[in-house]
Amino acid sequence: MSGSCSVFHLAQEEDDRHFEMGDYEGPVARWCSGCGDHSVLTAVRRLLADEQLQPENTVFVSGIGCSSRFPHYLSTYGFHGIHGRALPLSTGVKLSRPELRVFVVMGDGDCVSIGAAHWIHAIRYNVDMVALLLDNNIYGLTKKQTSPTTPQGYSTNTQPRGSYLPAMNPLEATLGVTNASFVAQTAEWVPAHLFATLKAAYRHRGFSFVRILQRCPHFTADMYGEAVKNPGMVELLVHDQGIVAPEIDAMFEHKRPHDPSDLDEARALAEDMNQIRLGLFFRDESHPRYEETRSLPHHTAADKIRILEEEFDRYAV
C-alpha cells in the first residue's frame, strides 16, 4: 500500500489471506449464558468469514448496554461509544472513510429511546452500513427497566405494576421514514434465518436496519419463550427477493408471500403487532447513499493551497 489514494481502494484490493470464523474471534463474551446476544455474535462471525471481510477494514460501532459490548468480542476495529449515540459515530466513520465496512449494534433502549433522534435521521441519511437492533424488550445492563418496546402491562423494576404505554413498534417507525431502504426482522433463536438476514443486510447498498428479536433469559425469560418453542406462532415473509433460507422451510408452517418492494404492504404487515413476522419487509436500493451524495474528489495539499490563495484573493484589500 503506498500513496495517499490507496486508502480509498483498500477494500477492493486483492488479498491473498483467507479468513476463518476464528479469525474474527475476540475475548470470551461475558453475556449471561443463554443470552440471545451470543447467537447474534456467532452469526456475525459467520458472516464476516463468509464475506471474507478484512478485519482491519471492518468497524463495529455500538452504544451502551449489554448488546453494545458486541465489538469487544470481535477482532475487528471497534468503537464502543455512549448510550444512544452509536449512529452519529458510525456516520462520521463512513463520511470520512467510505471504504470501511461498518456495522452498528444497538439495544432497544439505546436505539429506540435515548438514540431515537439519531435512528430516525440515520434512516433518512441512508449511509451504507448494517444497523442491528438487538431487541430484548427491556433494559438489560441496568437491570430490568421498561424500554419503549416493552409490552404494555409487563412488569419491570421501574413500572412494577406493568408498563403503562403500548409498546413502540420499531419496524413501523422505520418504514415511516423518508428514504427507508432495507427493513428486516429476524430472531436470534432461528440461526439460519438470522444469518440469511445478516447476509442480505450486508449485501444491501444503503442503511440496512435489522431488528433482531433477542432473548434475555436473565430478566425476561418469559418474553419469547412460547415463540421459541412453537414456530407455529411465527409467520415467515417469503419471496425470492426476500430472505431466502431453505434450511428452515420445513420448520415454519406459516408463510406469507410478501414482495419487499411493496411499501404499503410492508407497512401494513409491520403495523400488525398481533403476529410475529420474520423476513424482509422492505428493500429499495434506489435511494442515494449520503456518503456518496457528499463524496468529493480528493485534493492534494498543494491543490488546497492553490484554492486557498484564491479564497484569500476574495478577501484581499
Binding site: H80, S96, I307, Y315
Partner: protein
C-alpha cells in the same frame, strides 16, 4: 429644550461649499450607519471599511444586529447597522462612542442614543423626511425624539435622503445605503474610484445595471455632501499598505479550518456560530470538505468524533447551548483519546441568553464541563487573525495529544471585521492522509509514554492494530479494566499530556512594564480594548500593565512568578461576577469572573476581577475607569 434641526440643502447651506469645509484631523474616529433592518446599512459600512483599509487606515467594523430577523420599521429596538472605527494605526476593538452617525430615521437613532453609543457632541446626519411626514403619528414621534435628543448636545443635520434617492430608484429603502456611502466618501475624502471598485466587487453576482444604479447613488451622495456639508474628517493613513485580507472572525475560523486540512465540519445551526458553516458551506466542497448539518448538536459531535476516529481529524462548531449538549461526547473523546476540535463562538448565557451578543461565560464549562476528570486543551484567539491560526494550531494539538481542543471565540470576534496581513498558506499546516501502516508487533493502542502520556493511534485500516476503543475505563490494550491500578494510571496518563504540553509553552508576554501596581489579565476577544485602556492609563502615569492568555488549559507557564511582581492582579472579562460591595457578598462567597477563579486556584494569588455582562464588547474607556478605581492605594 427641543433640538433644532439644522436643515441644509441647495440654497440653504450654512455657508459650506466644497473646499471651504473645516477639516477635523484625528487619529481615531468612529462612524455608525443605523437603519431599519433591510436598508443595507451594513453593506454600506463594509464597503467603506474595506476602502479605508485599502487606503491605509486601521479599521475595525462591528455589526449592530437587532434580535429579531425583521423588527418593525422605525423601532427603537430595531436599530440595525454597523460601526466603523478608523485609526491611523491598527485598530483592535470597537472603541468607545461614535463620533459621526448616519441615521435613516430618528427612532433607530434614539435606540443608539439610549444605549450610550454616541459621543457627547457627536455629529448626526439624519434622514429628514419624517419631520414633514403626512402621518401625524410619525411627526409626533419625530418631535418627541428631537426633544429627547436635544438634551445630549448633538449636532444634527437633516439630509433629504429619500427625496434624492427617489430620483434614481423607485424604492428609496433600497438606495439610501449607497447614498450614505457617498456622504462618507466625501467626508473622509475616500478615493471615489476605489469605492466604485469595492461596490462592483460587492455586487459582482448582480447584473451590471444594479451596479450602475449604485454608482449613481454614490455620486449623488458625494455631490450633496460637497454642496451642503461644512466639515470633513481626516484620519491619517499609513503610506505602506502590505498585502491585507479583511474578514470577520467566523470567516477567519472557516478559512483556518480549510488551511488546517480538516475535511469535515459537523454542526447544528446556532447563533453566533452558524456563519462559520455558511462560509464553509460556500467554499469547503472546493477543498474536498464536507459541512454536515446534523440532526442536533449531540450528533454533530458524534459525527466529528467518528470521522476523527477513522483517521481524519474533524471539527464541530457551536455556541453555549450546543456546548452543553456535546458534553457527554467530549468526555468520550477524551476517554478514547480521539482527536477533536470544537469551536465555541460564545454568546450571552445561561440558557438561550443573549443569542447575538458577546460574552465570555463558557470558560469554566469548557474546562470542567464534563463529569469525571476530562483534561483537554482550551485556547482562545484574541484577534480575527488569531481565529485563523487557532484552527491550524488546534488541529495539530488535537492529533499530537490525542485529545479534545476547544477554541473559544465569541460574538465580538465573530462579527467584528478587521484587516490583517494575508497569511501565506503552508502545506505543513495540513493533516497528512490517515496512517495506514501496519502496527508493530506487540503494539498496544494506548502505549502511553510514561513521561508524556503520549501514544500512537491505531486507526482503522492499520493491519494488526485491531482493537475496540471504549468510554469505559481501560488499560493499554484498550481492554475494559475496572481495577484500581489501571484507572489510576490511565487517568494519570490522560492528564500528563497537558503538563507535557505546557512544558513546551513560553510564559506570556507582558504589555507594559514587567512590574508595577496593577496587572490586568485578560483572555479572548478583549485584548484590543484592554491594551488600549492600559496604554491610556500608562499615559496618565499609572503603573499598570496587562497580560493576555491564549491558552487556558493548560495555563501558560510562569504566572505565579509574574503576578508576584505586581501589587495587585485583576482580570477583566465579559462574564458575570458579584460586586465585592454587594449586599451579603463576602470575600468567601463572592462569585468571581471565570478566569479569576482559575488563576486564584492555580497561583494562590489573590486575583481580583472586574467583569461586566452588558451584551456588548468592553469599551476601553470603561476598562480605563476600572483600572483607575482599582489601583492599589488609588490613582495618584
Amino acid at each position: 429644550m427641543a433640538m433644532k434641526l439644522q436643515t441644509v440643502g441647495p440654497g440653504k447651506s450654512p455657508g459650506a461649499a466644497a473646499g471651504s469645509a473645516r477639516v477635523h484631523r484625528t487619529r481615531d474616529h468612529s462612524v455608525e450607519i443605523v437603519s431599519d433592518s433591510g436598508e443595507g446599512a451594513q453593506k454600506c459600512g463594509q464597503i467603506f471599511g474595506a476602502v479605508s483599509a485599502k487606503m491605509g487606515n486601521g479599521v475595525w467594523t462591528v455589526e449592530i444586529i437587532p434580535a429579531e430577523v425583521e423588527p418593525p420599521p422605525r423601532s427603537i429596538a430595531g436599530a440595525s447597522g454597523i460601526r466603523i472605527r478608523l485609526g491611523d494605526g491598527p485598530v483592535t476593538n470597537w472603541g468607545d462612542e461614535t463620533d459621526l452617525v448616519m441615521a435613516f430615521n430618528e427612532q433607530v437613532l434614539l435606540g443608539r442614543h439610549r444605549l450610550n453609543a454616541l459621543a457627547p457632541g457627536a455629529t448626526i446626519l439624519l434622514e429628514d423626511q419624517w419631520a414633514t411626514h403626512p402621518d401625524d403619528a410619525v411627526r409626533a414621534q419625530w418631535d418627541a425624539a428631537m426633544e429627547e435628543l436635544g438634551e445630549a448636545g448633538y449636532r444634527i443635520i437633516g439630509v433629504p435622503m429619500e427625496e434624492i434617492c427617489l430620483t434614481q430608484v423607485e424604492n428609496a429603502r433600497k438606495g439610501k445605503n449607497m447614498f450614505a456611502l457617498g456622504l462618507l466618501t466625501w467626508i473622509f475624502e475616500r478615493d471615489v474610484d476605489r469605492v466604485k471598485e469595492q461596490i462592483a466587487h460587492t455586487f459582482r453576482t448582480k447584473p451590471q445595471k444594479v451596479v450602475d444604479k449604485n454608482f449613481a447613488l454614490l455620486e449623488l451622495g458625494v455631490q450633496w455632501a460637497g454642496e451642503n456639508l461644512d466639515f470633513r474628517v481626516e484620519v491619517p493613513t499609513a503610506t505602506e499598505v502590505g498585502d491585507l485580507v479583511v474578514m470577520n472572525g467566523n470567516e477567519a475560523i472557516a478559512l483556518g479550518a480549510v488551511a488546517s486540512g480538516m475535511e469535515l465540519a459537523a454542526m447544528y445551526p446556532i447563533t453566533p456560530a452558524t456563519s462559520v458553516s455558511h462560509h464553509l458551506g460556500e467554499v469547503f466542497e472546493r477543498f474536498g470538505g464536507i459541512v454536515h448539518q446534523a440532526e442536533d448538536e449531540i450528533a454533530a459531535a458524534g459525527v466529528a468524533i467518528g470521522a476523527s476516529y477513522a483517521g481524519k481529524c474533524a471539527f464541530t462548531i457551536t455556541s453555549g447551548p450546543g456546548l452543553a449538549l456535546k458534553t457527554e461526547f467530549l468526555g468520550l473523546a477524551v476517554m478514547t483519546e480521539t482527536p477533536l476540535v470544537l469551536v465555541d463562538v460564545q454568546r450571552g448565557g445561561p440558557s438561550t441568553g443573549l443569542p447575538t451578543k458577546v460574552e465570555q461565560s463558557d470558560l469554566l464549562a469548557a474546562l470542567f464541563g464534563q463529569p469525571g476528570d476530562a483534561p483537554k486543551i482550551v485556547l482562545a484567539p484574541a484577534t480575527i487573525e488569531e481565529c485563523f491560526h487557532a484552527m491550524i494550531t488546534a488541529r495539530r494539538l488535537a492529533e499530537i495529544f490525542r485529545t479534545v481542543v476547544i477554541v473559544l471565540s465569541d460574538a465580538n470576534l465573530a462579527t467584528g471585521v478587521a484587516p490583517f496581513p494575508r497569511p501565506e498558506a503552508r502545506e505543513a499546516w495540513q493533516a497528512g492522509p490517515p496512517d495506514q501502516s501496519a502496527v508493530p508487533e506487540q503494539g498496544r493502542p494506548y502505549d502511553w509514554d510514561p513521561r508524556t502520556g503520549l501514544s500512537d493511534r491505531f486507526i482503522p485500516g492499520r493491519p494488526g492494530g485491531m482493537h475496540t476503543v471504549t468510554g469505559l475505563a481501560h488499560d493499554e490494550r484498550s481492554k475494559v479494566a475496572y481495577d484500581s491500578a489501571s484507572n489510576q494510571r490511565a487517568s494519570e496518563m490522560r492528564s500528563r499530556k497537558l503538563a507535557a504540553f505546557q512544558s513546551t509553552l513560553l510564559p506570556p508576554e507582558i504589555n507594559g512594564a514587567d512590574s508595577g501596581d496593577l496587572l490586568i489579565v485578560g483572555w479572548g476577544s478583549t485584548r484590543g480594548a484592554i491594551e488600549e485602556a492600559v496604554e491610556r492609563c500608562r499615559g496618565e502615569g499609572l503603573a499598570v500593565s496587562s497580560l493576555h492568555l491564549t491558552f487556558l488549559s493548560p495555563l501558560e507557564p510562569g504566572l505565579t512568578e509574574i503576578f508576584k511582581r505586581f501589587r495587585k492582579v485583576m482580570t477583566v472579562e465579559i462574564n458575570y461576577s458579584d460586586r465585592a460591595d454587594a449586599p451579603f457578598v463576602t470575600s468567601e462567597n463572592r462569585r468571581r469572573g471565570q478566569l479569576s477563579w482559575l488563576l486564584r486556584a492555580t497561583t494562590l494569588v489573590d486575583v481580583d476581577c472586574w467583569t461586566r455582562v452588558l451584551g456588548e464588547p468592553l469599551r476601553p474607556s470603561a476598562i480605563a475607569r476600572a483600572i483607575r478605581e482599582n489601583l492599589p492605594g488609588g490613582a495618584p
